[in-house]
Symmetry: C2
Subunit: 419 residues, 2 copies
Amino acid sequence: MPSTALLTDLYELTMAQAYLEAGKQGRAVFSLFVRELPPRRNFLVACGLEPLVRALENFKFGKEELSYLKSLGLFKDWFLDYLEEYRFKGDLYAIPEGRIVFQKEPLLQVEGPLPEVQIVETLVINTLHYSTLVASKAARCYIASGGKTLIDFGLRRAHGPDAGLHGARACYIAGFAGTSNLLAGKEYALPVFGTMAHSFVMVFEEEEEAFRAFAKSFPDRAVLLIDTYDAVEGAKRALKLMREGVKVVGLRIDSGGVEKLSKQVKKIFQESNFGHIKIVVSGGVEERSIQRWLSRGAPIDVFGVGTKVLTSSDAPYLDMAYKLVEYEGRPKVKKSPGKKTFPYKRQVLRHYEGGYMTYDEVLPYREGGMVELVCKDGELVKPLPKVRDIRETFMEDLSRLPPELKSLDRKLKYRVLLV
Amino acid sequence: MPSTALLTDLYELTMAQAYLEAGKQGRAVFSLFVRELPPRRNFLVACGLEPLVRALENFKFGKEELSYLKSLGLFKDWFLDYLEEYRFKGDLYAIPEGRIVFQKEPLLQVEGPLPEVQIVETLVINTLHYSTLVASKAARCYIASGGKTLIDFGLRRAHGPDAGLHGARACYIAGFAGTSNLLAGKEYALPVFGTMAHSFVMVFEEEEEAFRAFAKSFPDRAVLLIDTYDAVEGAKRALKLMREGVKVVGLRIDSGGVEKLSKQVKKIFQESNFGHIKIVVSGGVEERSIQRWLSRGAPIDVFGVGTKVLTSSDAPYLDMAYKLVEYEGRPKVKKSPGKKTFPYKRQVLRHYEGGYMTYDEVLPYREGGMVELVCKDGELVKPLPKVRDIRETFMEDLSRLPPELKSLDRKLKYRVLLV
């Protein structure tokens, strides 16, 4: 991984120089939290800690970075020397990835000498914000899917390659079966899926010829895209091949009219005793379309979910902040209108009743609760969990989420008590 | 730059193997275009070509990538050998970065042997989509700003580091003065800006002490954040320092009530003959707030624009597609409902009247028009322009955009004739 040190707003470094010059190197705690949830979110899924830990390991100012900073004519030589020596040696207190969280809860708290923990602000927000955003949106799709298979197809319209990679990871954590994204498959050992595009069908003179060519190259797992010209005709051509003994595992529909088409196609296959064929739907899919189609009995087995989840299009950002809450053991509070903060390092205790979470308490830190010490003096205190285990954490928390909060609309605001 | 070869949906590779197996290696043309603009966009700004050319140069399957692909058990050995040898050797026809474009216009056309130009689909869309999305949103801010200074502060809530980097570049191209993002400053020689955060003020016992410390470390360019506790009191403290001879160039307000506060603060400074002080505003800023504040006479000099532009929050994606339009010299057309495509490689001719663009024609390709040959057989035909020149291209096009299309609302749909 290349250096992440310049993934930083200039002001982090100007502040750090001024802190050092003013002798402000005491121990500080910053807290990362979401002030209020977007209107269409009842909960969030904490996500992005492992990518952050990786990024912090590579937060090093090398020659190239230092010579650029020197060229700005802003920084003093002793400060550039400080940056050259800089390694993140702070403590990280985090709510583990996969846990369901709410407004004002400290997803991450960073403790260490003030300049050292200030400098990483931009990187910390950038990393945790996006993963949490996507996991929270993907979880809504998972709820809507009622056990059907979800696959992330979002790389192409995600905001850059990094969003594609961490978006795929976040989707998997929130219940998706896998992704079309090969880099995510490789980096996080996620199952990868893929079919064919319309261009594939169009290159051949006849649709049938295209289907045969694809099934020949992938004899055990061909999923055929049937709607390049006419979905019902495409389905009939696929059926013809299957009757000849060609193995086809699924049919994909990527255009409008999904509900009607999926029913028509399924019927054709059922009448021919090929009712086991999987129907895959893609194109603008998100939680509301999934819920609508399934509630109307559309026989869809697999949803290819892309753009709207990887851009979290109905809520493309969270009001996430990284705020100073403690300096040299004293409370720090910001009073700007609408941006009030709460002091001290914090713990979160979750209360349950009848198997469901009922409310959370956010109180001054002590051991034992949702917040765990992850890094001490810049070193991991134990290995981070694998994505598969994080997914289990999410599933457990989801099973304890009150049914009202699983609604795709806002029914209830979960109670978070700041003590 | 690390390999970009796995920034690819699995289906690009399954199709490529099946193409090769079926002998489909003829010359193909794919066209990248936006089907329809989002409701709140009257135009787009073409952006992202240079990052794409860089990414294509690094589209190489190395040992690590190949061993991952082999592990999937999907691909034949001869195909993995093909990938090992793969280098992008196609032709790129593009509308230059910075140009204003509309629905259905071919931002990029990629020509070459079919499997070779299919494989890069995901990377092509991923790269051009985001830059074009942000440049188009940033251009709206530029229009609203009426010559005031705009600075990108969006890295923290951009969707990953790559979005922060290319978002900053896109903003600069669309008229911003610079960015807070150091990596973008370094990579694209963009001017960088920065002030201080609330945490800086909070660390000191007194706000005044914080201001003094910052101004001491940056004697010529201190911008003080005045609203940690109370913006008017903060402004008075800044004024006190200035009266003592401390140099302060600007004051930043980052909370609600910007219109009223900026007027109050400006008045205090004018009455004391420090009316030249710059007022900087940040926090949820986008084109509509800029327009509203300026229309009500808020004396703001600099807008720090962040999250809403780098996530293009009111339109977080474009309906951008990469479609086969020509194979072996023959037209290719998709007929799926709502997704009809037009065949052949295309040129765009723009027509003007009275100095303003009036309509565009998209017609079969010939030289001379907005579409230019950028790469031939994988090699640049001439060096790509610098961001500064791309910005000039944008400014020229903007000066010829009809005033109705500069409205922040949809007044008119620009006419694009497909011939």
